[in-house]
C-alpha cells in the first residue's frame, strides 16, 4: 500500500498483472490521496470524468509557464512554438485513433459539440424531409437531442435500434431498420450506462453494404481499449478528452477527409476562413474549416500528454486490468443482499450498473459516499434507455486504470450497510 493513496484493505499482490503495476499508476494521480468524510477517496465514477495524472497537470502548467500564445497567428516565436505544440496534439490524436492523417482530426469543446457539429453540418449537406438516421436505445442524450433538433428543422425521421433485456445490441433488428432513406447510422461504441460493447465492425459492414456512412460515439470506448478507425473503416468517430485522463474543454471528431471536406462549416469566425470580404467568404479545408475562433490550446496539449500517458502504460495492459476488476466487481456485488446488476451484455467495458431491492439509487449514492466511495446515481443522461429498462435510475460503478480490488471491496461493504439500513 502506498502512503500517498492511503487506500484501505488492499491485499498485497492481488492488484497487478505482470505488465501493469496499479499502485505505481495510482501514485501518478495526486487526487487519489484525498480523503472524503474522513475516508480514503474511492473514485468509481471515471465514466463521468476520469481523474488526471501528474503528467497531464504538469504538461498544462508547463505550457502556460513556458510556451503560450495564440495559435495560427503572427510570426512571433511564441506563437510558432505554441502552434507546433497544438498541431502536434492533432498528430497525437490521429495516432491514438490510427487515423490516416492529422487533417482528419477536428478539435471541439467536448464530445457534445462534436455531435452538434455533425448533426448540423451533415444535416445541411445530406439530409432532407423523410431521410432517416438510425440511432439505438443505448444512446447518451448527446447522440439523441442534436438529431431531434435536426428533425425539427428538416423533417428527418429517427429510427431506434433495439437492445435485449441484458443490454445486448440486436444486429438483426438493426439491419432491418436500414432502408433506402437511411442516410446515416449514429451509434455508441460502448454504452455509458450499461457498459455494453456494440459490435461496431458488423454494424459498419452492414451499413457500408448499403452505402450508408457510420458515426460512432467513442467516449466510453477510448478510455478502455485501443480504437483503430481505419481497421473499423468507420466514417466519423467522436471522443472526449476528460474521460481519457485529459482535461475538460477538449473533444475530438475524426472524419474521413473527403467526407469532412464535403460538409459546410459549423460555426463562422476567425481561423476557419480562406478569405473574407463583405460580399463573399471562402473557407479553409478540414479540419480548420470546423474550428472557428481561438481553440482550446492548452487543453490540446493536456490531451496530448494524456495520450502519451496511456500509451506508456499500454492500452492492452489497462484493458486487461480493468477487465479483471469488472469481472471481480460483478461477482462481488451480486453477493450483496438485494443487489441486481443492470446490463449483463456478452461483451462489456468496465462499467457496472446496479439497483437494489429496497433502496433507491440516490439513497445508495448518499450512503456509500459517507464511506468515501464516489459512484454515479441517476439516469446517466440516457433517459430513453432507463425507460426501455423500466427503471428511473441506477447506481453505476465505473472503473479506471487506477482502481483496485480493495476499492471494489470497500464499495461492496458500503452496499452491505445500505442493505442493513433498508432491510
Amino acid at each position: 500500500m502506498s502512503e500517498a493513496t492511503g487506500a484501505a484493505k488492499i491485499a498485497p499482490g492481488d492488484n497487478s498483472t505482470l505488465a501493469f503495476d496499479v499502485e505505481r499508476a495510482r501514485a501518478d494521480f495526486p487526487i487519489l490521496g484525498q480523503e472524503v468524510h474522513g475516508r480514503p477517496l474511492v473514485y468509481l465514477d471515471s465514466a463521468a470524468s476520469a481523474q488526471k495524472p501528474r503528467q497531464v497537470i504538469d504538461a498544462m502548467s508547463h505550457a502556460y509557464e513556458t510556451c503560450y500564445a495564440n495559435v495560427n497567428r503572427g510570426v512571433h516565436r511564441m506563437s510558432q512554438l505554441t502552434t507546433d505544440a497544438f498541431e502536434g496534439g492533432r498528430e497525437k490524436v490521429a495516432q491514438f485513433l490510427n487515423a490516416g492523417s492529422a487533417d482528419e482530426i477536428v478539435f471541439t469543446r467536448n464530445a457534445t459539440e462534436a455531435f452538434n457539429l455533425i448533426a448540423s453540418s451533415f444535416g445541411r449537406a445530406h439530409l432532407g424531409a423523410g431521410d432517416e438516421v438510425v440511432i439505438s436505445e443505448l444512446e447518451h442524450h448527446a447522440n439523441i437531442v442534436p438529431w431531434q433538433l435536426v428533425r425539427e428543422q428538416l423533417g428527418i425521421v429517427l429510427r431506434v435500434a433495439p437492445i435485449d433485456d441484458a443490454g445486448n445490441f440486436l444486429l438483426e433488428e438493426f439491419e432491418a431498420l436500414l432502408g433506402p432513406r437511411t442516410k446515416l447510422v449514429a451509434l455508441t461504441h460502448v454504452s455509458n450506462a450499461l457498459g455494453t460493447v456494440v459490435p461496431v465492425k458488423q454494424v459498419i459492414d452492414l451499413a457500408h453494404g448499403r452505402n450508408i456512412p457510420v458515426l460512432l460515439d467513442g467516449c466510453q470506448a477510448t478510455p478502455h481499449f485501443a480504437v483503430d478507425v481505419r481497421a473499423l473503416d468507420v466514417d466519423f468517430y467522436i471522443f472526449t478528452g476528460h474521460k481519457v485522463y485529459g482535461p475538460t474543454g477538449i473533444g475530438a471528431l475524426y472524419g474521413k477527409k473527403d467526407l469532412l471536406n464535403a460538409l459546410p462549416p459549423y460555426q463562422g469566425g476567425g481561423d476557419m476562413i480562406a478569405s473574407v470580404s463583405f460580399e463573399k467568404t471562402t473557407f479553409k479545408d478540414a479540419p480548420h474549416r470546423f474550428e472557428a475562433g481561438t481553440p482550446p490550446i492548452v487543453e490540446v496539449i493536456g490531451l496530448s500528454a494524456a495520450i502519451d500517458y496511456i500509451a506508456a502504460l499500454g492500452q492492452e495492459n489497462i484493458a486487461a486490468h480493468e477487465s479483471g476488476l469488472r469481472t471481480y466487481a460483478e461477482e462481488r456485488l451480486a453477493r450483496v443482499p438485494g443487489v441486481r446488476l443492470v446490463g449483463t451484455a456478452r461483451e462489456k467495458a468496465s462499467i457496472v450498473s446496479f439497483v437494489m431491492d429496497n433502496a433507491h439509487p440516490h439513497d445508495i449514492g448518499t450512503i456509500v459516499d459517507r464511506a468515501g466511495v464516489a459512484v454515479r446515481t441517476g439516469h446517466h443522461c440516457a433517459q430513453p434507455l432507463m425507460q426501455r429498462l423500466d427503471l428511473a435510475a441506477t447506481a453505476r460503478a465505473s472503473f479506471g486504470l487506477y482502481n483496485t480490488r480493495g476499492e471494489v471491496e470497500t464499495l461492496a461493504e458500503a452496499l452491505e450497510s445500505v442493505s442493513e439500513i433498508f432491510g
Partner: protein
Amino acid sequence: MDDLRELYQEVILEHVKNPRNKRTPADANRHAHGHNPICGDAVEVHLKINGQGVIEDVAFEGRGCAISVASASLMTEELMGKTEAQAKALFETFQEMCTKDDAKISKDIDEDALDRMRVLAGVRAFPMRVKCATLAWHTMSTAMAQKDEATTEQDDIGA
C-alpha cells in the same frame, strides 16, 4: 455515520415502507406535477380545497428516493384539514429547516407538527439531497396556486 443515522431514521424508513395517502383522489380539484431533472424522480400532488380554503384531502403519487417519498408522505399528514395560509406557513418553515441551522419557525405552527417535520431536517447535512426533501412541498405549493382543475408541469424546481 451519525449524519446517515439521522437522515435515515426509523420514522423515515417506516414512511417509505408504508407511504400515507399515496393515491389519486377522484374529487381533487388542484393538481401539479413535480420533477427533479437531476435524478428523474417525479411526483404528482393532488389537493381537494373547499370554498373556505381548507384542504379537505391531499394525496400524492410518484416514484423516488427514500427522502422524497417520506417527505411526500409526511407532508400529506401535516396538510390534512389545514387552511391554505397554514399550508404556506408549514412549507416555508419546512424549507428553512431543510437548509438552515438557525431556521426561522413560523409562530403559528404547533410543537407537535414541528417535531414531525423535524425528522427530515437531517437533510441539512446533505446539500445534494435537499431537493429530494422539498420536491413534494414545492409541487404542493404549485398545485395550491392553480385554479380549480388545473394541471401544471413544473420542472427544475429550486430548493
